[in-house]
């Protein structure tokens, strides 16, 4: 087990009153899982992802990454945790406009003390993986939307994370590009054994997960696991 969430609650303070964004959320994620999180807009998907990354403080509950208490960690500990264990993929790509593709991929390594060539080669290898090594010196604005998201995925992988958090990674892409990106994420999940948590709107995309969480008004109203299903089928038969 890589991630355990117990009785997680998140209340936002707002001038219009409190918002219960997450209510009593419980689930476990195993190493190598591909978890998809669905739910209508405002159901708390993004909040859940950000809380898991330690980017938002939870109101109560426990979040464990291996044996690290994310809910209790300091800002510095959380920075180190993200630096070493987490990769992010965002709907808006969030590439740095003045950096080339390969520089964007190398960005997370800027705070690692490693030889220059090693950083460069790691980034180049990942650009090859996402099929963009021939665009390494292009600026984001010189790339298509699908290509930009591929660069962002390469960037999410460069620090060899055990966990990738993706918030609607295909939200800004048309369907055929979406399928490419989803297949790429699946390939990474399978080949690199990276645990994947992906928020998505689309039911088709949710099919990629072996664990599927559905949120409604901040609560998990349905959790589906292929393994449990298989085990149940085995028991029944």
């Amino acid at each position: 087990m890589i991630l355990r969430v117990v009785s997680l609650n998140k209340k936002y303070q707002h001038i219009d009153g409190e918002v219960d964004a997450l209510k009593d959320v419980n689930f476990d994620v195993n190493q190598g899982d591909f978890v998809t999180i669905t739910g209508s807009s405002g159901s708390g998907k993004t909040t859940l992802l950000l809380t898991l990354a330690g980017l938002i403080k939870s109101t109560s509950g426990i979040i464990l990454f291996k044996d690290f208490r994310i809910d209790k960690a300091t800002d510095g500990q959380l920075s180190a945790f993200r630096k070493n264990n987490v990769g992010f993929v965002m709907q808006s790509f969030a590439l740095i406009p003045y950096l080339t593709a390969i520089e964007n991929v190398m960005l997370p390594l800027a705070i690692f003390n490693r030889p220059k060539a090693q950083k460069y080669n790691a980034a180049l290898e990942l650009l090859q993986l996402v099929g963009l090594d021939n665009r390494k010196n292009h600026l984001p604005k010189e790339l298509s939307a699908g290509q930009q998201q591929r660069v962002a995925i390469a960037r999410a992988l460069v620090n060899n994370p055990s966990l990738i958090l993706a918030d609607e990674p295909t939200g800004n892409l048309d369907p055929s590009l979406s399928a490419d990106i989803l297949n790429l994420l699946k390939k990474i999940n399978r080949e690199k054994k990276v645990t994947m948590l992906m928020v998505t709107h689309s039911p088709a995309a949710a099919e990629f997960g072996n664990t599927r969480i559905h949120l409604q008004n901040g609560r998990i109203d349905n959790i589906f696991s292929k393994e449990i299903k298989m085990n149940l089928e085995a028991v029944i038969n």
């Binding site: 993004t46 990354a53 980017l55 630096k83 992010f88 965002m90 740095i96 520089e103 800027a110 918030d167």
Partner: protein, 405 residues
């Protein structure tokens, strides 16, 4: 890719915006450097033995500018050379020595020099009418001895202006060290001044004053050359201390109409006041740039941070700690500080070197040591100005990136 590289790439990206952030600090540094460069020269000019000068009287035209002792006679209006005779033939006692001068700025090969016509001792003495007046016999030390204090400090008034020259031919000239250097003229060689050829009779040793840029020639040759016949711009008089306190200045004023008669000591002390004021002005400027420069750098950095909110949020997201964000912004401020210091130094020095000769008649040299002070002030001000924006940048929510649709 490391953090320094990242700062540098961002810096290069936004270099067109730099001018607004750097303007105040650069101009502030330029003003301080400019004032300092000029006042160093003018402080040098007064670093002379005041006691020795106490007995020196300067006769200048009424309209001349006496703010600066070394340039008081440059381009001043003129009065008749005949005044020398008037003093010599008067019954005024206590005048020991006289030296009439005509000084004008000239250009040789596009460069500026100061040409001063002087009358050598032998010529003054040879005028029969003065022979009886006993003007040139006595040495001055008797009446105006050197102060032992100054001797201890090692002051020696070796500036040529104060010394009389025994003889000077009509086509001879003497050159200040820096003038000789600029003209690459050596003793014995000849040089063309305003169309006339002069032989360089002597290259004078360096004094650190405007004298270094002067070329001295015979008064009458200079008068001919410049077409200012029988006119001089100053007469220096050695007077005895006792005579000065007995009202020598007033007596001279009576016989020399339309002149301004003052002791060099007075001029020098006026100049010391001016220098003190310049130092005060640069202190005030220092305070101003610390405020205006710091605020304008802070404002620039804050605009930069705001523009890059998403970017900084991204950095935080991928594990950059607050400390690294602070470091990145302070590193940027540091680069700004270096730029402000260097550019300010260059502008200030250039302005002083151009304005000094133009307005104050002082030859201003670049003072390399000022670059360190410029950098120090500029970097300190930039860093101070960037503290608040850097602190606020550390507070940027890392998740802005995720929440917008």
């Amino acid at each position: 890719m490391n953090v320094q590289k990242l700062v540098w790439l961002e810096f290069k990206q936004h270099k067109s915006q730099l001018i607004s952030g750097l303007l105040a600090i650069t101009l502030g540094i330029a003003v301080i450097v400019g004032i300092r460069s000029i006042s160093v020269v003018s402080e040098k000019a007064v670093a002379i033995n005041l006691d020795n000068l106490g007995a020196n009287i300067l006769v200048l035209p009424q309209a001349s500018n006496v703010d600066n002792y070394y340039s008081a006679d440059i381009d001043a209006p003129t009065f008749p050379e005949e005044y020398v005779e008037r003093i010599a033939t008067s019954t005024i006692a206590g005048v020991d020595n006289m030296s009439p001068k005509l000084t004008r700025r000239i250009t040789i090969n596009g460069q500026k020099y100061v040409l001063t016509g002087i009358l050598p001792k032998n010529e003054l003495a040879s005028k029969p009418i003065w022979q009886n007046s006993g003007l040139f016999g006595a040495e001055l030390q008797a009446s105006c001895g050197e102060s032992p204090v100054n001797e201890d400090l090692g002051y020696k008034d070796e500036k040529l202006q104060r010394k009389s020259v025994d003889s000077l031919a009509m086509d001879d000239c003497m050159m200040g060290s820096s003038a000789a250097q600029r003209l690459t003229a050596k003793e014995g060689e000849s040089v063309v001044i305003e169309g006339k050829t002069f032989k360089v009779a002597k290259v004078l040793s360096e004094t650190g004053t405007i004298d270094d840029d002067r070329i001295f020639a015979h008064l009458h040759a200079v008068q001919d050359l410049l077409g200012i016949k029988d006119q001089v711009s100053a007469i220096e008089i050695m007077g005895c201390c006792n005579a000065i306190s007995d009202g020598l200045l007033g007596k001279l004023r009576n016989i020399l109409p339309d002149t301004r008669i003052t002791t060099i000591g007075q001029i020098v002390s006026t100049q010391i006041q001016t220098n003190k004021m310049m130092n005060k002005v640069s202190f005030v400027f220092l305070i101003i740039i610390i405020f205006v420069g710091g605020i304008s750098i802070g404002n620039f950095m804050w605009a930069n941070v705001n523009e890059r909110r998403k970017e900084i949020g991204m950095f935080r997201m991928i594990g950059f700690s607050k400390t690294i964000i602070y470091q990145m912004l302070l590193a940027k401020a540091f680069i700004l500080g270096i730029l402000g210091g260097v550019i300010g130094y260059i502008i200030g020095t250039a302005a002083a070197m151009w304005l000094g000769p133009e307005f104050a008649g002082l030859t201003v040299n670049a003072i390399p040591a000022l670059i360190f002070i410029s950098l120090l002030i500029s970097i300190a001000v930039s860093l101070i100005g960037a503290i608040i924006p850097a602190y606020l940048a550390g507070k940027i929510d890392p998740f802005n990136n995720m929440q917008e649709g």
